[in-house]
């Protein structure tokens, strides 16, 4: 597993517990992620109605890409994210991520980027989140 460079995160993945499947070529992985009521972001979101902030998924997808492809990539575009169902504390989510190489002529990627597609289902197997994002080298401009 490539070492993750130190990078500020909103919510660190519970590595290595999170990884339930992982293709050796880095194109596909499945993670199991608990929605932890004790996490910082749950405390204030929202009082009396704790619900996982949808943006946490972006952070998890970034860390999954770091782990699959080294920490030299950052999200350059969030092409689309759909939060179909709310995510409640106590649940264990299944995040499936598929990564494919970017187009060579895409400027956001500088020829070395990737596309990531992530889907989350809740433990009741209902689809909850779909996300498509484009990653390019850290430091290059979108």
């Amino acid at each position: 597993m490539p070492a993750s460079a130190p990078k500020a995160t909103m919510s660190a993945l519970p590595v290595p517990l999170a990884w339930s499947e992982r293709a050796p070529d880095g194109t596909h992985a499945v993670l199991r992620l608990p929605v932890d009521l004790a996490a910082d972001h749950m405390a204030g979101h929202y009082p009396g109605y704790p619900i996982l902030p949808g943006v946490v998924i972006m952070d998890w997808v970034q860390q999954a890409v770091d782990s699959l492809h080294g920490a030299g990539l950052r999200m350059r575009r969030l092409d689309r994210a759909r939060f179909v169902r709310p995510l409640f504390p106590g649940d264990v989510l299944e995040l499936t991520i598929r990564v494919r190489p970017g187009e060579p002529d895409d400027q956001a990627m500088d020829g070395e980027g990737v596309f990531a597609n992530a889907r989350i289902v809740r433990s009741d197997r209902r689809p909850a989140v779909e996300l498509d994002a484009t990653f390019g080298p850290v430091g290059a401009h979108a």
């Binding site: 759909r82 939060f83 179909v84 689809p127």
Partner: protein
């Protein structure tokens, strides 16, 4: 010739776009959820696009019955006068 501004064409195109289908894959009478496996957020996305396009608010309590292209057209025809949306089939 089909007019892209014709409401059925417009609604079908918005629905197809939201559901990641081609417009000719949409049957105007089929229920989005039962037939195309749309989720509740797809319905919100379709309604928001139609509201923006036609500058009209679709009442929440009518949306449960408006889950096909033809049902949405019927709802729009009732909400708008005939000059803004011709009530005719393609």
């Amino acid at each position: 010739m089909q007019d892209v501004d014709h409401p059925v064409i417009r609604i079908r195109s918005i629905v197809a776009d939201t559901l990641d289908l081609a417009p000719d894959e949409i049957d105007d009478d089929q229920d989005f959820i039962d037939f195309y496996r749309a989720d509740s957020l797809n319905l919100i996305e379709i309604v928001a696009q139609l509201e923006k396009h036609y500058q009209v608010e679709l009442p929440l309590d009518e949306l449960q019955q408006a889950r096909s292209v033809n049902a949405l057209r019927g709802l729009l025809v009732r909400l708008l006068d005939g000059t803004r949306i011709p009530d005719s089939a393609v």
